[in-house]
C-alpha cells in the first residue's frame, strides 16, 4: 500500500475520534509549546543583552587592576593604579587607537540656576571619545582640559527647567567643594555607555578627567574617585605620590576596529606596556594585582552563561512534559488497536499485509505527533512573542528549534506508535474476526 493511501486511511480514523485525538495531541502541543516558548524567550533575552552593547562599544576594551582570583563583574576588587602618563603611553602603543581613564566622582548635589537636585554618583570622569559622536542627540563631545560636560537625558530632565546646551551647572562634590561645568552635549539615551556604569537608566553627567578628576585627586591626595568598590582610600593613601599624579581605577582602550584580531592586538600591546618596567602601574602590579582587559561582550558572557543554564533547565522540564505527551499517544494508540481489533481482522482477511497494518497505525501516531508539534510550535512562538513583548525584548525566533520541534513530533509519533502498531500488525485475523 502506498504511503498516501495509509495517510488517507489513518487520517480518516483520527477524524473518527475527534475529541480523543485532540486530547492526545494536547500533550504534545503543551510539551512542544513550552520548549519553543522558552527557547524563544531565551534567545530574545540573549539578543536583548547583546543589543545593549552598542556597535561603537564593540571596539572598546575595559581594563582594571585587581587580584586575579577576584570574581565578579567589571571593576570587582579594582585598585587605582593607572597614572595619566600610563594612559598617554598606552594610547601611543601600536594597535591602540585611543586610551583614557575612567573614574566616578562622588557628588552631593547638582544645581541648575537656583534649583538643586541631590545626586550621588553624579560625575563620570573619562576621555572625550567615551561619548561617541553617534550617541549625542545634541551638541558635541567635551574637550580635555575644559570645564565642560555632556549630560544624559535623565540628568537633563531632572530639573524643572530642562537643561539645554550652554547651561552652566554647579556641582557640589562630596566634601562640600563646589565646581562648575558648562553643558556642551546631551546624549540620546539615559542607559549606561559602558559596562563600567551598568546598563540601567539613571541621571549621569560625563566630564573630562582633566580637570575634574585631577583636581579631585589632588584635593584628596590621590585618586579618591570611587564607584563604591571599596579599598580606594587605603590604597590611595598608600600609593599617593602627590599632586598631579592621580591614579585611575579603570582604563578604556579602543582597538582599531571591532574585529576580534584587532581587539586582541590592542589588548596585548596595552597589557605588555602596563606590565613592563616603563609603566607607573607596574610599580603596584604584582602577584596579587594584575591587569584585566575585557570587552563588553566578554563581560556579559558570564550573565549569558547563567541565562543559558537557566534556559536549558526549563527546556529540560518541558522535554519531560513532551515525554509524558508521547506516553499519552502510546496509550491511546494501544486502546485504539484493541478497539479496532475487528477492523484489523477485516483488513487482514481482505489481503492487508502485516506491514500495511503496521504502516496504518504508525502513520496515525505520527500524524498525531506532527499535528501536536505544529500546533505546539505555533503556540510556543505566540507565547514567546507575548513574553518578549511583555519583558520588552527584541524578538528572536530560533528557527532551527522550530524545525527540531517538528522533527521531535515525528520521532515521538514513531516511538509512541511503534509498539501499538506492532501489536496491531501481529494480530491473528481469525481471533480478530471473532472479536466482539
Amino acid at each position: 500500500m502506498n504511503p498516501l493511501e495509509s495517510l488517507r486511511l489513518s487520517w480518516r480514523s483520527i477524524r473518527g475520534h475527534k475529541l480523543r485525538s485532540a486530547l492526545t495531541t494536547l500533550g504534545i502541543v503543551i510539551g512542544i509549546a513550552a520548549v519553543i516558548a522558552f527557547v524563544t524567550l531565551g534567545a530574545s533575552l540573549q539578543a536583548g543583552i547583546i543589543g545593549d552593547i552598542s556597535p561603537d562599544d564593540r571596539r572598546n576594551v575595559y581594563g582594571w587592576a585587581a587580584d586575579p582570583d577576584t570574581e565578579g563583574g567589571p571593576l570587582a576588587g579594582a585598585q587605582p593604579v593607572f597614572t595619566p602618563d600610563d594612559l598617554d603611553s598606552v594610547a601611543s602603543q601600536p594597535d591602540v587607537a585611543a586610551a583614557y581613564g575612567y573614574a566616578t566622582i562622588q557628588t552631593q548635589a547638582i544645581s541648575n540656576g537656583n534649583e538643586t537636585v541631590a545626586q550621588g554618583n553624579g560625575l563620570i570622569a573619562t576621555g572625550p571619545s567615551y561619548i561617541r559622536e553617534g550617541r549625542l542627540a545634541e551638541g558635541r563631545q567635551f574637550e580635555r582640559g575644559d570645564r565642560e560636560a555632556v549630560v544624559n537625558p535623565a540628568a537633563a530632565n531632572q530639573f524643572e527647567e530642562n537643561v539645554t546646551i550652554g547651561d552652566e551647572l554647579t556641582v557640589t562634590i562630596l566634601g562640600g567643594e563646589r565646581t562648575t561645568l558648562e553643558v556642551v552635549g546631551i546624549t540620546d539615551t539615559s542607559e549606561g555607555q559602558s559596562p563600567f556604569e551598568g546598563f540601567e537608566s539613571s541621571p549621569r553627567v560625563y566630564v573630562p578627567t582633566d580637570p575634574y578628576y585631577v583636581e579631585q585627586a589632588a584635593g584628596l591626595g590621590i585618586g579618591g574617585g570611587s564607584d563604591g568598590s571599596g579599598n580606594d582610600t587605603g590604597a590611595g593613601s598608600e600609593n599617593g605620590t602627590g599632586t598631579g599624579d592621580a591614579r585611575f581605577l579603570a582604563i578604556i582602550i579602543e582597538a582599531d576596529s571591532a574585529a576580534q584580531s584587532d581587539i586582541d592586538a590592542a589588548r596585548e600591546s596595552a597589557t605588555a606596556y602596563l606590565e613592563s618596567e616603563q609603566s607607573d602601574a607596574s610599580e603596584l602590579l604584582g602577584d596579587d594585582l594584575a591587569v584585566t582587559f575585557q570587552t563588553s561582550t566578554e563581560l556579559l558572557q558570564q550573565l549569558q552563561d547563567v541565562l543559558a543554564l537557566l534556559r536549558n533547565f526549563i527546556v529540560g522540564i518541558a522535554a519531560i512534559s513532551l515525554l509524558v505527551g508521547s506516553i499519552g499517544i502510546a496509550n491511546i494508540m494501544l486502546v485504539s488497536v484493541t478497539e479496532r481489533t475487528r477492523e484489523i481482522g477485516i483488513m487482514k482477511a481482505v489481503g492487508a499485509q502485516n506491514r500495511d497494518v503496521l504502516g496504518l497505525f504508525l502513520t496515525e501516531a505520527v500524524i498525531l505527533g506532527v499535528i501536536g508539534a505544529i500546533l505546539g510550535t505555533g503556540l510556543g512562538l505566540l507565547g514567546g512573542y507575548l513574553g518578549a513583548q511583555y519583558i520588552d525584548l527584541p524578538l528572536v525566533y530560533p528557527l532551527e528549534y522550530v524545525a527540531l520541534a517538528i522533527g521531535v513530533g515525528v520521532l515521538v509519533g514513531i516511538l509512541a506508535g511503534l509498539y501499538p502498531a506492532w501489536r496491531a500488525a501481529r494480530t491473528d485475523p481469525i481471533d480478530a474476526l471473532r472479536y466482539e
Binding site: M1, N2, E5, R12, S13, G16, R342, E343, G345, I346, M347, K348, A349, V350, G351, A352, Q353, N354, D356, P429, I430, L433
Partner: protein
C-alpha cells in the same frame, strides 16, 4: 462446466492443543471445482469454521494439504499466504464485517488497495460491482446508513472485487430476515451462474439447498456428500427430492421455493 479445481483439500488434519489435543478436522479430502456451488453443513463443533479458515488461507493445516488457486497454503510464508488470501479468496461474513468509517465504495475497493491497484482503477471497479449488486446509488453511504441486506451486498461486492478463485460465505444470511435472505441468496445464484465458485457454510437447510452439493461435516470428518446437481438431469427430477429434504427445517416453505425456482431458471 469446467472441472478445474479451485480449492482442494487432501487428507487435511487440524489439531488444536487446548490442554488435550482436539482434532477440529481429522482427515478431510474435498475438491471444489471451479464454477461450483458447495454448501458445508454440520452442527457446532463439527469443524465448519476450521475448514473455512483453512480454505480462506487464514490458517494452515497441521497435516495434509490445502491447495487454493493452485498453490499449497501450508507451505507458503505468511506474506505469500496473505497475498493469496487477498487475490484468490473473497469473504462474506455473517456479521458483514465492513469497515465502519469507509463508505460502500471504499469498502468494496479495500482489497484492491492492499494489492496496490491505483485509486482511479479501484474506484471504477468498485462502482461497477456496486451496480451489479444493485447499490449503484448507495456508493457514498457509510455501513451504518445501510440496511443489513445492503451491507451484505456490499460485502459480496467486496468479496468479488479481486476476481477470486472462490467466494467463502460464512452464514451469509444468518443476520438477515427471510425476504432479505432470499435477495442475497438470489444474488449468490446470479454470480454463481456467471461463473463464480461459491462455498457457503451454513446450518440452515434452505440455504444449503441453493448449492450443487452439500458436504455434511460431523466431528471433524466428512459424514457424507449430498449431490444436488440438477444441471444435467433437469430441474423437475430434483425438485421434489429437495422439497422433502427441506421439510425437517420447519419454515423452509414458500421463501425457499420461489428463489430456488428462479435459480434453476437462471442455470438453465
Amino acid at each position: 462446466m469446467a472441472r478445474e479445481t479451485a480449492v482442494a483439500l487432501e487428507n487435511v488434519r487440524k489439531t488444536y492443543r487446548i490442554g488435550e489435543p482436539v482434532h477440529a478436522l481429522d482427515g478431510v479430502s474435498l475438491a471444489v471445482p471451479r464454477g461450483s456451488y458447495t454448501a458445508i453443513m454440520g452442527p457446532s463443533g463439527s469443524g465448519k469454521s476450521t475448514l473455512m479458515n483453512l480454505v480462506g488461507c487464514l490458517d494452515t493445516p497441521t497435516a495434509g494439504e490445502v491447495v487454493v488457486g493452485g498453490r499449497p497454503v501450508g507451505e507458503l510464508e505468511d506474506r505469500e499466504r496473505t497475498r493469496l488470501r487477498g487475490t484468490e479468496v473473497g469473504f462474506v461474513f455473517q456479521t458483514f464485517n465492513l469497515m465502519p468509517r469507509l463508505n460502500a465504495l471504499e469498502n468494496v475497493a479495500l482489497p484492491q488497495l492492499f494489492q496496490g491497484i491505483d485509486r482511479a482503477e479501484r474506484r471504477e471497479r468498485a462502482r461497477d460491482l456496486l451496480e451489479r449488486v444493485g447499490l449503484g446509488d448507495r456508493a457514498e453511504h457509510l455501513p451504518n446508513e445501510l440496511s443489513g441486506g445492503q451491507r451484505q451486498r456490499v460485502a459480496l461486492a467486496r468479496a468479488l472485487v479481486n476476481d477470486p478463485a472462490i467466494v467463502l460465505a460464512d452464514e451469509p444470511s444468518g443476520n438477515l430476515d427471510t425476504d432479505t435472505e432470499a435477495d442475497i441468496l438470489d444474488l449468490f445464484d446470479e454470480f454463481h451462474a456467471a461463473g463464480t465458485t461459491m462455498l457457503v457454510v451454513t446450518h440452515e437447510r434452505h440455504v444449503a439447498d441453493r448449492a450443487d452439493r452439500i458436504v455434511h461435516l460431523l466431528d471433524g470428518t466428512i459424514e457424507r456428500i449430498e449431490d444436488l446437481e440438477r444441471g444435467n438431469d433437469g430441474g423437475s427430477a430434483v425438485d421434489p427430492g429437495r422439497g422433502t429434504e427441506t421439510t425437517p427445517d420447519a419454515d423452509a416453505d414458500s421463501e425457499t421455493g420461489s428463489p430456488t425456482g428462479r435459480r434453476e431458471a437462471d442455470s438453465e
